[in-house]
Every structure is written in C-alpha cells, then in structure tokens.
C-alpha cells in the first residue's frame, strides 16, 4: 500500500467520517491537541534553557531533562493520537500540503534529535556549564520544536 492510500484509508475510516461530519468532534480534539502542545512546549523550553545555562544553573541538566522528559513524552503521545484524528478530517488535502510535509519532517527530526545528540548534551552537561556543542544542541532543539509548531499552524492557513 502506498503512503497516499494510507491517507485515503484514514480519511474514509469511521474516525475520519466522525471528524468530517461533526464540528464539535473536531473542535474538542483540536483543543486537546493544543493543551498537549502547551505542556510539551513549556517542558522543552525549561529543559533547553537549563541546557543553555540560562535557568536552574545549579541543578543537573540530566535530572531536569529526565524528569520533564516524561512530560514531553506524555504530551507527545497525546499530540500524535489527537493529531491522527485531526489529520483524518482532511487527510487527502494534507497529503499534498507543503506545510504538513514540513511539519512531519521537522517532527521526525525533533524526535530523532531528542533521543540522540540532545540526550548526550544533557548527560554531558549534568551539573556543570554546557560545552559549546551542547549549547548549539539546545538552540537547535528549540528551533526544531518551534519549527514543528509554526509548520503546524501553517497547515490551516496555506
């Protein structure tokens, strides 16, 4: 099955049908998506500002990252699930939307980065000041997540 047929199957599923026909189904799922976004954004910001040595300087970056990482992961799961439901409303259109494609690419990048270099940067920084590569990792992480959000907002506008 091609990727496009997966998108069409989603659009024609019972979930897609519910989202397309009920205004409030879509609204409620969108609100959940936004709430999880706010939680994820705040946690990522606090983690990265610690990594950059801006806030919570005396605390271990690794501990802050591990603890708030649970909030990031929890919110991410809610966002992906609610995101699939939102996608089902107009999957056929999203498949061709450049904003949607950008969002998925940036999201994949953000998650991959989060589990690899970002993780190492937190571990290596721990209680100290970040090395310059760790600072770059912090800024890059913020830019990736911000990019996901901006591309997401653009889906509805373009």
């Amino acid at each position: 099955m091609s990727l496009h047929s997966w998108f069409m199957a989603l659009a024609h599923s019972p979930l897609g049908h519910a989202m397309q026909t009920s205004k409030w189904d879509f609204a409620v799922v969108e609100m959940v998506h936004l709430l999880a976004l706010a939680l994820l954004g705040g946690s990522v910001l606090v983690i990265d500002l610690r990594l950059l040595g801006v806030i919570l300087k005396g605390e271990s970056a690794w501990d802050v990252g591990r603890d708030l990482g649970r909030v990031v992961m929890g919110s991410l799961v809610v966002m992906v699930l609610s995101g699939i439901a939102l996608l089902s409303e107009e999957a056929g259109k999203c498949y061709y939307s450049p904003a949607f494609r950008w969002k998925m690419a940036l999201l994949a990048g953000a998650i991959l980065f989060y589990f690899t270099l970002h993780r190492s940067a937190l571990k290596q920084t721990d209680k100290g000041r970040p090395a310059s590569w760790a600072r770059v990792a912090g800024v890059f992480s913020l830019a990736l997540w911000l990019g996901v959000g901006i591309a997401g907002r653009a889906i509805g506008l373009l």
Binding site: K23, W24, A27, E30, M31, L34, L35, L37, A38, L39, L40, G41, G42, S43, V44, L45, V46, L49, I55, L56, G58, E59, D63, V64, D67, L68, R70, V71, L146, G149, I150, R153, L157
Partner: protein
C-alpha cells in the same frame, strides 16, 4: 447601546482595528504569536504546578523553580496580553457577543486571582513546608486550580473561532 458594546464598536471601526482585520497576514501572524506566548505561559506554569503536586523535579526546592520559571511565565503573559488585545481590536464588535470570548475573560480574571491568593497566603510560608515530601493541601489545591483554569482559558480561546 451599552457602553461596553459602544466601546467595542469604536475599536472595531478605528483605523488600526480595520487594518488588522483587512490585512491578509497581520491577523494570522499576530494569532500565531498569541498561541506561542500562551504555550509559554501554560507550559511554564504547568511545570511549577506539577512540582507543587510532587509529580516532577522533586529534588529541586519549589521556591527555586518558582524563581527560575515565573519570569518566563510573566514574559509569555505580557506578550499574550498585547497580541490578544490586538486580535480583540480587530474583532471587537463581533466578539462582544461571543459566548466563548466572554467565558475566556471570566476565566482569565479567575486565573489571575489564583496566584494572588496563593502568593499572599500559603506561599508566604514556603520555608516551613517547602522541604516536606507532600505539600499542604492548600498548595496542591492552588496547583490543581491553576492547571484547570489555564486549560479552560485555552479551550475557551480556541472555541471563540467556532462561535463566529
């Protein structure tokens, strides 16, 4: 016409209100900044609230987290207030009647009252309870109230668009 409604109509008809409303990019750009700043407010206050509930960052004293995180919250709040007012300016005469907008304003007033009460009462004695494993119920209640009210603000804010 009630005075508030009259005021909304004046804002709506003013050159700035009209310019934001009629521009293709001004409204979505201001709106995006508004959403981002709300993320900053809710996300950072949620970290503090989750700490008060003992769910995250238990090894860091709550007063340290408050000192480090609240400036971010206030920054976000300032930006969301300015951008929110600009959005209101453009749509004032319409949102005057919007039930979601009215709900949002009430929730904002309540969500402002919550830290006012928290900081002038239980938080004043944070030195006495900040080291405990479980915080006094009034501190936890303030955290739950904050999480629920801010969620309500976001939900009501998003609902504004569904009532026009």
């Amino acid at each position: 016409m009630p005075v508030l409604q009259h005021l909304c109509q004046l804002l709506y008809d003013s050159p700035i209100g009209t310019a934001i409303r009629e521009s293709n990019i001004a409204f979505p750009v201001i709106e995006s900044v508004h959403v981002l700043s709300i993320t900053l407010v809710f996300g950072t206050i949620a970290v503090l609230d989750l700490r008060l509930l003992g769910l995250v960052l238990r090894q860091i004293p709550v007063s340290r987290i408050a000192r480090n995180v609240l400036p971010l919250t206030w920054t976000g709040f300032g930006v969301s207030l300015v951008t929110g007012f600009l959005l209101f300016w453009a749509e004032a005469a319409k949102v005057y009647w919007n039930p979601a907008f009215r709900t949002k304003l009430v929730l904002l007033a309540l969500v402002g009252l919550n830290p006012l009460v928290f900081h002038t009462t239980i938080y004043r004695r944070v030195e006495e309870w900040g080291y405990l494993a479980v915080f006094p119920w009034r501190a936890r209640a303030a955290a739950v109230a904050s999480l629920m009210l801010w969620s309500g603000v976001i939900v009501a804010g998003r609902a504004i668009a569904y009532f026009t």
